[in-house]
Amino acid sequence: MRQFGKYLAGRPLGMASLAVLAALYLGMILAEFVAPYSATTQRADMTYHPANVRFHGLSVKAQEARVINTVTWKYVRVKGLYHGVSLFAKGEPYRLMGLIPCDRHLFGTTDGAYPAFLMGADNLGRDIFSRIVYGSRVSLTIGFVATAISLFLATLLGGLSGYYGGATDWSVMRLSEFFMLIPGLYLILFLRSLLSAKMDSGQSYMVITVILSLVGWPGSARTVRGMVHAIKREEFVLNAELEGIPSVSIVFRHIIPQISSLLIVSVALSVPGFIMSETTLSYLGLGIVDPAVSWGSLIKRDISTIANLRNYPWLLSPVWFLLAVTLAFNFLGDALRDYYDPYHTVIPRPFWRFLRRREARR
């Protein structure tokens, strides 16, 4: 771990990605603290309120705005009506991590009279930034849970089929091919449609996770199987067989650890894939449903019409977060892959060195 940290110090992009991910996950854990308002607080008179936090002089303030057109919900800012924005402001009470009662939030208006919309409000007057923060709980974790299940299935089935070969191999591979044949999205839709249309948020979360894992495991399984098949012939495996170690133990305690680096990189690179899959599902309305929030459900179809996007572009703010997470995981995965690559220890020489020819020293 520490060695990897040292390696990252030489890769600024990887380091930045790690920082971004750390910030996002920390925000997710402390969601009640970071988000100034709850995800469900509606304000009838603030439909499509634009973002109103801005610099006024040297301090940060929230400016009030009034509706001038209730059809297009156009707002104008009220000159002079400011409310101070401060850190650790008092807000709605909550329990930090479900245990500690608290009422301070990361930021908010000092007097609490007018909301500070960092990223505007949606059609029911709910603060989008807060919804994004709460939505990260679903989006960021669903990737990991789905990856965990899918990787577990892939390692188990791929490992056994690669080691035993024969009928086991044949049947597992045919099964994986079956899952691979069906286009992922359609499989997801099909499985989802088999279940009832109305489910509560907890159930829908689990269902989506399971569906995503079922679609994701065949690819990794085939890779794992190939590697296990190759490693099986190594001398230390032959020796383990000679020593009478049971086959299952050989596969999972001797062979699989050899590909642990591959699996780690695979995790880093598939988490964003699962996040995007969940986003797609929720975008289509088949995933997380109200009142639960996820980044995908925030950019629901009915919100992102052309007219809406023209008038209220801040509704797409979740997209920036999704982009950040996907890029961060990808860069981190690249860094991990290069770290484990034994041929990657070459130092790239500074550019200016190439300009100077090497002279033979006499």
Binding site: K6, A9, T345, V346, I347, R349, R358, A360, R362
Partner: protein, 354 residues
């Protein structure tokens, strides 16, 4: 020193002076230096065979890879490599191509891995010939290739030109490699452990072939191996390398029959000999392990394992000193292996005779 324009026909074909090779490798954020070669000097006369003996980490392969410029870009080369009067160290890639492959040929340890598996041998020859003479025709290339393959002892050459590398055995591939090196008129052949991966009977055949070519074409050869007996069989002079430095040098027969350096002695004593058996005497083994080029100490590289090491040996690296024999070549002989002279890098040997 030889001027660039002068081409002394009677001088040595290859003269290496104070060659150092250092690799900079990044481990995490730190950069570590691997000092693979720390100051090697030798000269090779035309038509003679120089043998380099050493174990893993001694720097023998890196030394010879530096001559035709086959080291990776992150290697830093110091010192001078003078081939037929021209300075090779520091030459750009294009200039090196005039030497590499054409006048300096190289064959490697694993012949199976030195060939493109997707290209048949005839096409490799054609490509090689065309590199030197762009206008050569296929028919002429084929004829010349067949002549070369017969010279290296590969039977049925015409038919085999269409074969791919996997259809040859290791020994045959090594012969093909030699033929390819000869194809462009090579004057210096560097053989880096060419027979280590081969069976002993095939090894004998390849050695006989190399001796034959050296006689018929006047080829100069640098032969590298960890097997000192094998090197002694084919070489005129020997360099014994350890820890990136030359420990002893001199005519092959002399070094093997009366070694001066403790390492050479230990090497010769540690190898089992025919007629010896454990019931009679135990093999002398050298304690410890070969030095790590990443972690060089201040003193003689062999000091940690040498039975005669003193504090002086551990503190500083001895100079390579010429050993004055009864046929001394006179004053002014520089302490590097000139053909025919002996040198040893040790504080304790040869003993100072007043």
């Amino acid at each position: 020193m030889n001027d660039r324009n002068e081409r002394p026909a009677n001088g040595p074909l290859l003269e290496v002076r104070d060659l150092t090779v250092t690799f900079s490798v990044r481990r995490g954020v730190a950069v570590s230096s691997i000092r693979a070669v720390r100051g090697v000097s030798f000269s090779l006369a035309r038509g003679s065979v120089l043998g380099i003996v050493g174990e893993s980490g001694s720097g023998k392969s890196v030394t010879t890879s530096a001559i035709p410029g086959l080291l990776p870009p992150y290697a830093e080369i110091g010192g001078s490599i003078s081939f037929d009067g021209a300075e090779l160290a520091g030459l750009g890639a294009r200039a090196l191509r005039e030497y590499r492959g054409k006048r300096i040929g190289m064959i490697f340890q694993e012949p199976g891995r030195s060939n493109d598996p997707l290209q048949n041998i005839g096409s490799v020859f054609f490509e090689t010939f065309r590199n030197a003479e762009p206008g050569i025709t296929r028919a002429e290339a084929r004829a010349r290739a067949i002549a070369l393959l017969e010279e290296v002892g590969l039977p049925n050459a015409g038919a085999r030109l269409g074969n791919f590398p996997h259809q040859f055995s290791g020994g045959q591939l090594q012969r093909v490699g030699i033929a390819l090196a000869l194809a462009q008129g090579c004057e210096l052949l560097i053989a880096d452990e060419p027979t280590t991966a081969l069976d002993v009977t095939i090894q004998a055949q390849i050695i006989a072939l190399l001796k034959g070519i050296r006689a018929s074409r006047g080829l100069s050869i640098i032969f590298i191996s960890h097997n000192i007996d094998l090197v002694a069989e084919i070489s005129d002079d020997i360099l014994v390398m350890y820890g990136g430095l030359v420990m002893e040098s001199g005519p092959a027969f002399e070094v093997v029959s009366s070694p001066e350096h403790p390492y050479s002695r230990a090497l010769l004593a540690a190898a089992p000999r025919f007629g010896g058996h454990y019931t009679e005497s135990r093999l002398l083994s050298i304690p410890g392990k070969v030095p790590d080029p990443e972690d060089v100490g201040p003193g003689c590289p062999f000091a940690p394992r040498c039975g005669e090491a003193t504090d002086e040996c551990r503190a500083a690296i001895p100079e390579l000193r010429a050993i004055v024999t009864s046929e001394a070549t006179g004053a002014g002989v520089s302490p590097c292996a000139k053909a025919g002279s002996r040198a040893c890098r040790c504080f304790r040997h040869p003993e100072e005779k007043s």
